[in-house]
Subunit: 321 residues, 3 copies
């Protein structure tokens, strides 16, 4: 077992003693694209369920006007109960704890026979959220896997507190399984006083900060929304940049954004092929008693081998092998 | 109220229970340019007071040679008592706590009838500074607003300890009101072993780090000095970069630097106009029960609205509307 | 004494009460290049000892296959005991604590009459490492200086825990003297999910993070390996970039990498000359009672003086003056 994985499992062992240990972030479901749909639009939800996107997120928060919150809860609960989402994961974005709407959101989406696969929350108040979910699910937590939780980070203080928030959540994986963290870039830009400019790297520091903290805890970091939804080149560039800095996926707000984003977060065929050859060469050298060797002018050792193996596993997961 | 603001107020509520809550960093006085003048030069202080710069900072520290400290204290105290600074805020940069000069600096500038509007300090020792100020101001703290405090961060350990320093200061806003944090780039470069190069981004990481921490606590981050004071293009570029990464202002060391810097940290007219139109459109949609909508091909929701409102408020504050 | 140094010494005073205080990171031995050689290759070790590299690191870990660990321990111990390394520092890279190999590694390299000058470790378990070393060295710790320790940081959690790891090590400098920290970029890329791309700055955030933490504690940050060892231009560019962001040295994996790397981490002659002139001008102004002055159109004060002095001291140390 590699050192990197060893350290990870150990840490998770510390903070998630109650949960089964997990080998790697790659065992989590792919969340390359996470599509928001307004929770009060039955028509848009119906369409979203057929798009083959990794995650459909029914939004009860920013996409729903104040006077439509009740309608959105009802529509979202009905969709969870009656609609088939195919291979897409069903997530619900509930309102922030201090908004006054969160509790009713949780009741609506957790009281049905079919639980959402994931909750997206801003988690300013971890304890409140977990206590409410525990109360609402009660004995169901004995028999069913708890819903996955995806937190949102969208303020300067949220960035500073990421570690504490993750540790607090991972201490109670019997209630909600924290698996990913979303960067909410618009709120964050306002909070950090960043000037809005397309094409600059104003959010790169914050995005790398989120990647560092999420990956350190074995979680999937989910990148910011690209709001100029008619600019497909810009979207593709930002998605590739996100993958390059360690993001596992990206929020999308329009069906046309799904394919470019899911492609960007999938391995290229030539990467898959190189990884396969590298693994084979590594295993041959290992059997001959050589720990490090040269492959295409690069020194190869255990960590490089690990990267290749991870890439192949993920390619298989998203149907590329 | 937006989530970002909500989280901010709450945190400040926790750490500054004794202070009146504050809506936003925009209620702080503008500190787009902070001009240093040697505390021992009556002539330079007199000229600085007439330049219309947001902050005039009488420097008792680096700009004053060891043998001139007493003269500088006397000159600075006299200027505070007798000179009109117009709309400029009067700040005093005291020597570091461990220099042996700090205590006398505080006595000189806090014993007069007219207190400085802001103290700039390096705050290696928060407790010492606050205790001394409390002792010197005594009963005056009942009747007058405590002076504002601007801390300096200028070492690697200073960066690592920013959060703890801010929390320690914000716990005692009845003595000094922490409102801003200056990045002292020259000391910082020495401390971090950065190679001095004009035009590279060697300090960008540290600057973004300061922005993140300051903004998280609702404070104004003040950017590094641009020392090549004859290069106006370089100055303008660095000032715009500072604004883009979230700085609220920049230290200046020459009168010719004031206008370009204050311009760089003010909104452009077309930004003001776009913000006005965006706010209007948002409020119309909100009344029609729509939470998110399209404006110039961008998806607009609450956070975007908040950014536009902030921009308009600030423009009014610096006389641009 | 400058504020930056003052803050540093004070902090170190807090965390390393038992150790002699130290003026600056420049009093540490130069570690511009750190060359790995497989611990089981007597021939390669012999050659490495003659190359004039600042540090020769006998690798018992990644460069040694599982079945060769015993042979490597024996060969490394023999080299430490019998071979002259000239002016090169002798370091040993032991296996990670949780690998099951670490204890035997320590026994092999610490039981000889000649201790290694430095141990390189991943330090997931600081306490275990220090306890074992203390047990193995026992009474020798009274008479001899404890070995220097260079830790490796190579996972997201490792980055998040840098401060805690440094503080834990620096509390026990009577057992091992923590002096430097290596960035293990390959493992780190796997841990953070970074996409492998030559020529991009995927690891820059992590590298700056390591620099910030190491420099804050007065330690030397040692940069990542450049694995494409036939590309000398790429190597030179990355080495210069490392120096520019504050790295003190770089790991190397091939003899041909030593000279370009050690050059990159040494001052240029014109820098040395400028520093000399600047120091002279500063001291003249200081004697005339002027704290800040203009030198080649730049405002010069104490911090700038400090940078110049540091540069001259280091140049002397590596034989450039």
């Amino acid at each position: 077992m590699s050192k990197a994985l060893g350290a990870l499992q150990q840490l998770r062992g510390l903070v998630t003693a109650a949960s089964p240990s997990r080998g790697s972030v790659l065992e989590l479901p792919p969340r390359r694209a996470l599509l928001y749909v307004p929770g009060d639009s039955e028509k848009k939800i119906g369409k979203a369920a057929e798009l083959g996107v990794d995650v459909v997120c029914l939004d009860l928060e920013d996409a729903v006007a104040q006077g439509r919150k009740d309608a959105a809860r009802e529509t979202a609960a009905k969709a969870l109960a009656e609609l088939s989402f195919g291979r897409s994961e069903r997530a619900v974005r509930v309102n922030a704890v201090q908004s006054g709407h969160c509790e009713e959101d949780l009741e609506a989406v957790l009281s049905g026979a079919t639980l959402p696969d994931a909750l997206v929350d801003t988690v300013e108040h971890v304890r409140f959220l977990f206590d409410r979910v525990k109360g609402l699910l009660g004995p169901r937590l004995q028999g069913e896997a708890p819903p996955a939780l995806i937190t949102m980070c969208e303020s300067g203080m949220g960035l500073l507190n990421l570690r504490q928030v993750f540790e607090a959540c991972l201490a109670r994986t019997n209630v909600l399984r924290l698996e990913a963290c979303i960067l909410g870039a618009d709120d964050l830009q306002a909070s950090l006083g960043l000037k809005r400019q397309q094409g600059t790297d104003d959010t790169l520091f914050a995005r790398r900060w989120v990647v560092l903290h999420a990956r350190a805890f074995g979680l999937q970091p989910i990148d910011q929304v690209y709001i100029d939804y008619k600019n497909s080149h810009g979207l593709q560039a930002e998605a590739l940049e996100g993958r390059s800095i360690g993001m596992a996926g990206k929020q999308v707000i329009h069906p046309s954004q799904i394919a470019p984003v899911q492609d960007a977060f999938s391995p290229d065929p030539h990467e898959v092929e190189e990884a396969r050859q590298l693994m084979q060469a590594f295993e041959e050298h290992q059997m001959q008693g050589k720990g490090a060797f040269t492959f295409r002018d690069r020194m190869i050792d255990q960590p490089t081998y690990l990267q290749a193996r991870n890439l192949l596993q993920f390619a298989a997961r998203v149907g590329q092998v």
